[in-house]
Amino acid sequence: MSVRVVGPLEERLRANRDAGRKLLVPYVTAGLDEGWLDIVRAVAAAGADAVEIGIPFSDPVMDGPVIQEASVRALARGTTPASVLAELARADVEVPLAVMTYVNLFAHAGYHRMAQSLAAAGVSGAILPDLPIDEAAEWMSEAEAAGVDAVQLVAPTTPEGRLLRICEASHGFVYAVGLLGVTGERADVANSALVIARRCRSVTETPVLVGVGVTTPKQAVTISEESDGVVVGSALIRRLLNGEGPEGAGAFIGSLREALDDRWPGTQE
C-alpha cells in the first residue's frame, strides 16, 4: 500500500462523514450569471459539505441538456477557466470547492500550470469525467503536488479489479456514477446507484458520493443508505435556469440537507 496524502477536500469530507453526517455536494455552473458566486455561497450556507464548480466547456459529453444549457449560457457570457479561477480566488466560501470540467481545458493550459492555478484560487479538488484512470497518471501527480484532490469516477460498468484500483487512486472522494447515462434529473433511483455505492464502500475508506440522477430529497436519502452522500447537479441547475436564484438554490439544497439530517441526525456540526 502506497502512502496516501489526504488533501483538504478529502479531509473535510471524511471529518463530516465520520461525524455521522451524510455528505451533500451541489454542482454549480461557474459564470452562469453575474451572481453565480452568490449561488455558491447560498448552497454552502444551506448545508453543502463542498461545492462542485462546473467550468463550462464547449463539448460536455457527460452532461445532459440541463447542464449543457447552463454551459452554453456561461460560455456566451465569456466565461473562461481563467475568469472562473480569478473569481473563485476572490470569493469567500466556507466549504471546500472542487472544480468539475473536461480534460481539454486542463490539457490546453498544461496540467502543471492548471494544478498550480487551482491551488492558488483556493480550489481543493478537481473532477474530470473524460479522464479515466488509465490516462490520468500525469494529471494526478501534478494535482497531488499542488495539493488538489484529483477525484476519480467509477461507473456501473466498471469491473471489480478496476473499481478497486480507481477507489484506491481517487482523492477527495470517489465519484460513483449512479447510472448509465449523462447528468440529468430522473424520476426514480436507479438500482445501479445503490449497487455501485455498495461496491465502492466495500473497498475504500475514502468517502463515496453518488452523482448523476439525484433529483429529490427522498432520492438523496435512499441513495445515502448505501453511500456517504450525494452530488446534486441538474436538479439544482434546472432551478437556476428557471431564475430561482440564490434563494431558490439555498432552499432546495436546504431541503436535501434537512432530509438527510432527519434520517441521519449524527453529530451536528
Binding site: T80, T158, L180, G181
Partner: protein, 393 residues
Amino acid sequence: MTAATSMMGEPNEAGRFGEFGGRYVPESLVPACLELERAFHEAWDDPLFRSELNELLHSYAGRPTPVTECRQLSSELGIRLMLKREDLAHTGSHKINNVLGQALLAKRMGKHRFIAETGAGQHGVASATAAALLGLECVVYMGEVDVKRQALNVFRMQLLGATVIPVTSGARTLKDAINDALRDWVASVESTYYCIGSVVGPHPYPFMVRQFQRVVGEEAREQCRVILNGEDPDLVVACVGGGSNAAGTFAGFADTKARLVGVEPEGGAANGHGVAGIVHGMRSNFLQDESGQIEEATSISAGLDYPGVGPEHAYLAAIGRATYESVSDAEVLDAFQRLARTEGILPALEPAHALAWIIRATEEGKIAQGERILMTLSGRGDKDVAEIMELLS
C-alpha cells in the same frame, strides 16, 4: 518493432500513435472500449470474419473500385493523375467500407442497436444501409442545422429504416452530433454499438476504422502497379476531415517512397492550424480558442466540417511521414468544375479539396511535371449538386 512507431502499424497498447490517440472517455465507456478492442482484434484475426467482410465488400459494395487514369486533366496539368474511385462504391463514398466492417462486428458482439453520428449524412446513410442489410436497429444523430440542410439524406436514412435524431446542442452540427452519440452510448453501452464514421474517437476506433479503410489503399497500390508497370506513384493525396479515406489510402502506401499529402479545408485545418488537445476520446490536433474551447470548423463541404483530425494523422504530421495542406472554398469549387468538364466525373466536394491542392501545387511547382499521382476520390458529387447550383448562381 515497437508497435507504436511502426509505419501505420498498430498503435501501442494504450492506443497511441506516438503521443496521439488514447482512450479519453467517461469511465462508463472504458469497459466498452476495451471490449471493442478485444472483439475487433479477434474478428480481424478470424479468417471467417474477414471473408464475410470481403464478400460483402465485393458483392454488395462493389469492390474493388477502379483506378481511373485522367486523360485530359493529366495532359493539361502535365502530370499523371490517377483517381481511386470510391465514388463508385455503394452509397457513393468510402464510408461504406468502414460501416460494413463495424456492422458485422456489432452482430458478432451481439449488439442489436447500432448508433452513428453524421454531418452531411454520408456516414449516416452508410450506417443505415449496413444496419438494414444486417438487420440491426439504427439510430443516427445529426445536428439540427444539418438535418435542415440535408433533408434528402435524412429521408434517405429513414427510407433505410433508421431513426434520425436532430441534435439541438452546441452549434447543432457534426461535433455536437458526436457529443450526443457519445451521450447515448454512455447510457446504452450494454446493448448498443457506436459506429464512428472516421478515424477519430477513443481507441480502438482510429485504428479499427483505418483497418477497415485500408482496403482503399491496398487496392490502389496494386492497381497503380499495374498501370505503372510495377512502380508506385510518386505522390499520394487524399482529403482529410476526420481522415478515414486518407488513412485508408496512406496505409497502402506508407511503406513506399511516395510522398503522402492530406488536404484539409482552410476553415477546418486541424492539422494545419490546430493544436494538441483532448476531445471526443482522443488526444489529437483540434481547432481551439485560447482557453481550449473547441471551435466550429467551417467549409464548403459538410463532410470536412470537423474541428479535429484523427490521431494517426497528427502523428504522421509530427514525424513528417505525411504533410497536410489546406485549400480555400473557391479553389475547391474550381477543382470540382474542372474535373466535371475534363473527365466527366462529379466529385464530392470533399475529394475536390484534394484535387484543388494538386492543381495549385502543380502550378506552383510543388508537384513536378510528370509526377505520378494517386488521389483518392472519396465520394461522388451528387449530394453536393444542389448546393453548388446555389453557390454558382
